[in-house]
């Protein structure tokens, strides 16, 4: 079976020259290789500024990597091939309140997505939107709502609806839970797990919260300063971390958990 998404030796170099006399500051991401199968979740974790979001941007085609290739179901996707990219790889960002257009209704946001990416006529589009809204646990009436009328959790649902309305092969979620409160976060986690199980979508999931990473991911990849320092099955990495930095991250997470259980 070919993987849904396969990344081979991806390298992206970011250069800033602060003045003409100084040497340019360089941030090199990669080389990164990994593969995600259908119905699987890959979690990316690491310190702030380690290049996780940059990798997500490279995958959706917002930035152009200098080297390497991205294969979607065995076929290479070109940088210029925006059509497949937009259709099959979808992105959810951390703050859905800044990524949703506040001037148009939720229905319109979703409608634009369909208009630009599919050939459905107006009636089919409307039916598809209603179906997707219900799928993510909203009501049909939310079609007519504006962003400010929705709570944080509902906005996150709209983001998810926008990502999955095209029936993509893979969804990339950049810290989708960080801005949510505990009880709403659990709802969203459940929703994502349900959707994955029902539709067999692949997820790439970026998060700092190791508790949730451990819960929902199949494989995990730890990135530091643009390099992959460890990757593998989640259970194995969490039980037996190899790299020093991974050990540090996981130890500090578990020291908090242990302190909690130590009280009893």
């Amino acid at each position: 079976m070919t993987a849904v998404l396969e990344v081979k030796e991806l390298i992206y170099t970011h250069r800033i020259r602060r003045s003409i006399f100084s040497a340019p500051d360089e941030f090199v991401l990669g080389p990164i290789s990994f593969a995600v199968n259908a119905g699987e979740t890959l979690a990316l974790t690491g310190h702030n500024g380690s290049g996780k979001t940059l990798l997500a941007k490279a995958l959706v085609g917002a930035i152009q990597p200098q080297q390497g290739s991205i294969l979607l179901e065995g076929k290479e996707v070109e940088q210029s091939d925006k059509k497949t990219r937009n259709h099959d790889i979808r992105l959810i960002l951390q703050h859905s309140n800044t990524t949703l257009n506040k001037a148009v209704t939720v229905g319109n946001v979703l409608n634009q997505t369909l208009q630009l990416n599919t050939k459905l006529d107006e009636q089919d589009r409307k039916a598809k939107i209603e179906q997707t809204l219900v799928r993510v646990g909203l009501l049909r009436e939310h079609y007519y709502f504006y962003r400010h009328m929705l709570s944080d959790g509902q906005q996150q649902r709209v983001s998810l609806a926008r990502a999955m309305i095209l029936d993509p092969k893979i969804i990339i979620a950049d810290e989708p839970f960080a801005a949510l409160d505990p009880s709403v976060r659990s709802q969203t986690v459940n929703l994502i797990l349900d959707i994955q199980r029902d539709l067999g979508m692949a997820f790439i999931f970026i998060s700092q919260n190791l508790g949730i990473v451990r819960h929902i991911s199949d494989t995990v990849m730890i990135i530091d300063k643009g390099k992959v320092i460890e990757s593998g099955k989640t259970a194995r990495v969490f039980q037996n971390p190899q790299h020093e930095l991974t050990q540090k991250l996981i130890d500090s997470h578990f020291s908090l958990v242990d302190k909690h259980f130590g009280q009893f």
Binding site: H253, V257, H260
Partner: protein, 378 residues
């Protein structure tokens, strides 16, 4: 006597057509040397409580309280100057979102040195003062774990990482050697290593200096690893408060239980990719608050009685406000038959309870230790 004692604090906000109770009879106390966690979701009024305590509230909001005292002095009856003196020397606040609450137009060095009170400088010649200020500032930076003070001092707030900014905010709060530190979500958006550093720092200060901390957050993992006591807030009502240990082992309010269950790290035998426990719905907005118990529409056990605001009840130190608490089967049953029975039946139920017995021995021990510390002070 507790350091900070808030009893039935109500905050009303004028929405133009009516007054909305953003905080409804909130009670919270912080003892000397205690770490009290204030837990609640965003929009539940955590930050409003902080603002009401420090007095940073617009004039047209109405604050009423049975007690809002600092070491026995009534904060509400004070003049602004007196209150400001207390805020300057005895209570320190670390605000949410450090990079935006620092002054963007001044370097960190200027801001930190400005916050050092003149009393702390011993009376050298005036030209020696600047050096003293600098030394104190550097000492503070090291204390909170910023090793590379040289490069940080000359920078502006937008040039530093958010975890450094957070540590720096704590340094600024510690300048005046306060007795109470109010930390408003100090661990937000941090990876676990940095979070651990901050928690160790706060815990260390609490142990070495007896610093009381009001730790406002919704990071349950951080709270349960460090706090002694915990108050849970929902929609502007305090619904449960008590020792962290007791709340974890035996939550009485449905919301507390849902909140604790929502963290996957707390569940030992949770299979990966299984469903997490979650309450339906979301926290209501201020314009659409339900009457009575504000959890009502989301509560799995809500009944007719829940349209009345439940009174705060106590089982030893553990306070809760719910008509039908969890883990009290006999009490709940008798409540439906006869409300008068509830006091006696809870007593009976808990007289045989090991948990609270062990707590008694705990509190006796703590009494002894507190007597000791008092002796030392004398």
């Amino acid at each position: 006597m507790p350091l900070l004692d808030v009893k039935n604090l109500t905050l009303e906000i004028d929405t133009g057509t009516e007054f909305v109770k953003a905080l409804d009879k909130v009670s919270i106390t912080v003892e000397k040397g205690e770490i009290r966690a204030l837990v609640g979701e965003s929009g539940s009024g955590k930050s409003l409580i902080v603002r009401a305590i420090i007095g940073a509230v617009p004039d047209h909001w109405i604050i009423t309280a049975d007690r809002l005292t600092w070491k026995g002095q009534n904060l509400l009856a004070m003049s602004n100057e007196q209150r400001r003196m207390i805020m300057r020397r005895e209570i320190a606040v670390v605000f949410q979102d450090p990079t935006s609450s620092l002054d963007p137009s001044a370097t960190l060095k200027e801001q930190l040195e400005e916050s050092i009170p003149a009393e702390l400088l011993d009376k050298g010649r005036f030209w020696q003062r600047a050096k003293q200020r600098k030394d104190i500032a550097i000492g503070l930076m090291h204390k909170v774990g910023i090793k590379d003070h040289q490069s940080c001092m000359q920078r502006y707030p937008h040039e530093i990482a958010s975890d450094i900014a957070q540590k720096f905010m704590i340094a600024m709060a510690l300048v005046s050697e306060p007795e109470l530190l109010i930390a408003d979500d100090p661990t937000r958006s941090m990876e676990s290593t940095t979070k651990n550093q901050i928690l160790r720092l706060l815990g260390g200060l609490n142990e070495s200096k007896g610093l009381g901390i009001l730790f406002v957050s919704h990071d349950l993992l951080a709270i349960s690893s460090m706090a002694h006591t915990m108050t849970v807030l929902y929609c502007g009502q305090t619904i449960e408060s008590g020792k962290v240990k007791h709340l974890h082992r035996r939550p009485l309010h449905h919301y507390t239980k849902a909140l604790l269950d929502s963290a996957p790290s707390f569940q030992v035998n949770l299979p990966p990719k299984s469903h997490l426990v979650a309450l339906e719905g979301t926290i209501p907005t201020l314009q659409h608050l339900p009457i009575g118990c504000r959890l009502g529409p989301r509560c799995p056990k809500a009944r007719k009685e829940c349209v009345k605001v439940p009174e705060e009840r106590f089982i030893q130190q553990h306070a809760y406000s719910c008509h039908f608490p969890l883990h009290l089967p006999s009490a709940a049953r008798s409540h439906t038959q006869n409300t008068n029975n509830i006091g006696t039946s809870t007593k009976e139920y808990f007289s045989t309870d090991r948990l609270y017995k062990s707590d008694n021995s705990d509190s006796e021990n703590s009494n002894i230790t507190s007597q000791k510390t008092e002796g030392n002070e004398q």
